[in-house]
Amino acid sequence: MIEVHTIKGGIHPPEEKALSNPGHVIDCPMPPKLILPLNQHIGAAAEPIVAVGQYVLGGECLATATGLVSANVHAPTSGVIASIDDHPVPHASGLSNCCIELIPDGEDKWLALNGTDDFRQATPADLVTAIRCAGISGMGGAGFPTAVKLMASDRTPIDTLIINGTECEPYITADDTLMQVNPAGIIEGAEILAFIVGAERILFAVEDNKPEAAAALTQAVVDTASSVAREVVTFPTKYPSGGEKQLIEILTGQQVPSGKLPADLGIVCQNTGTAVAVRDAVVAGRPLTHRIVTLTGRALNKPANYRVPLGTPIEFLLSIAGYQAEQSSRLVHGGPMMGFAIDDPRIPVVKTTNCVLAPTEQEFPSAPSAQACIRCGHCAEACPASLLPQQLYWYARARDQEQLERHNLFDCIECGACAWVCPSHIPLVQYYRAAKGFIQDSREEKIRSERSQARFEARQARVEREAQAREAKRAARKAAAQAKTTQDTEEDPIQAAVARAKARKSEQEVTE
């Protein structure tokens, strides 16, 4: 048994997890159309490799990764590509982005899937390739391509793999459910991940508000043999224990330094959903096309966890879950702490959609208007990253880039604990997000301006060089022409006349 540590700060919002009945998963029926965004992950958008009107099978790759940090997109069922065009996507901006629209034919015919029976026969590099081909990106919320994360751990030896089943955000029970219904899949996926990175131990991290999940995982660990040390660790519930850096501190007592990665401490952290996706990709050869989504909130008649094909429009899901539009105050993609409001319910479920929340006005009253900061300091006590939220707030308002960076704005994980405790209801996180945005913009501008300056100077130098070359050529031509004329006439008559005149003049001067 490892010793569990505590993190600084954190909050205890009402959990509301029982609402969505964790531990049971309902298969979502196939919607009439699937909207598959080309960018469901952090990094570059994938590039479509299918044409409009083309018939595709389930599991077929529709768009391939461009560049290193990117992920493939696959068809969740068989059907016809109806369009490749802009469509509203799940994003805080509410903007549209390029999506592939797939009309399912209802037959759900799949490609022949080729898995590996014994992953230990394969090399870690082959397994990473399989994971990359399956289009897996982190399913906990951030959506960083998993293959890239595994490759990044190449540089340093890894001793610990953490499977993150913390799910500390209120309302969400997707990981809880997954741990209860498919503990064997999580264990197998974790074994594969540990094999790839060469970890010697696997820690399954579960908060103590999910005893059934912890019990299911423990049982599955007991039932299977393994060459690595495995342990299911439970620890007291607190938000945001599930943040990667926070979880590492809870389990190991070590802090990931600012600007460093967990890999620098010999640790890799993966979500439970990601582990199952890895298992499916390697063992079954199945790409990532479905995920478990928690549909919850008191504006739904049937809140539950659904296994949903990626690309399912949220409005379709809501209709299945018995959505009472008149009772709902708003719709949220993700959890109540870190999610964002949905403007348009036509947006689809993507790889990072762990929850769709439809609360009533009583559950989520509209935010009272913000009052002045009274400098109470509650936010600094709540911050799990040991930052000074109040200072950051003042500097963000003043747009003081230097001070924001000095106060480590970029270590803010945007968990919202500071805003939750703020008695003046200041939307602190929004200030930090905006500040991060303008700092990023100004960094990009700086790089651009340095490049343009270098190019401008290079051009100036070139123009000058060319002018000099022209001048030199002209001078050479002139000299050549002159040489030619002197050769042509042995003695220039005009020059001779001038010389004679000069001679006469000087003679006169002498006589005078």
């Binding site: 982005n97 913000a370 301006s449 401008f456 100036q460």
Partner: protein, 193 residues
Amino acid sequence: MIDTLMQNPTGIALLALLGLGAVFGALLGFAAVRFRTEGNPIADQVNQLLPQTQCGQCGFPGCRPYAEAIANGEAINKCPPGGQETIEALASLLDVEPEPLDAEHGEEKAPRVALIREAECIGCTKCIQACPVDAILGAAKVMHTVIADECTGCDLCVDPCPVDCIDMIERKTGIQHWRWQSPDVIASDRVAA
């Protein structure tokens, strides 16, 4: 000799001062030659703050010449691409009052890039010659195109084009360039204002 000097304290003082003056003068003279700064350091710092669009809207042929002019006392509010932010940065560097942008030189616009309507391009190379950062690719009598990543949005290629086939479009559109906006001012501030 020493006796005469002893009787003349004013002379000693004068000699001592002259001596000191000569020594330190020589030192300073040596330092001025040995540690001479190349170029104008203030102009360099100013140049760092300018946006490097090289558009010439300030009336100088590029950012560097304008930076040198500012170092010699030119007004700091003649740079529309830099906008108010650049003016404020310059004001704090030079310790002067920030002024509003001089409307005579243009207004602040969102960053733009040039886009050649390629079907209409006749391949005259006039825009290539006008581009201050060599961001247009092409040759005589073949189609030209803008390297969008290198384009500073300076506008200088638009006028020389004999067939008007160059458009200036906004650079930062789309979801990747979207940024969170700062919240509105807080309620109590609104009351006070």
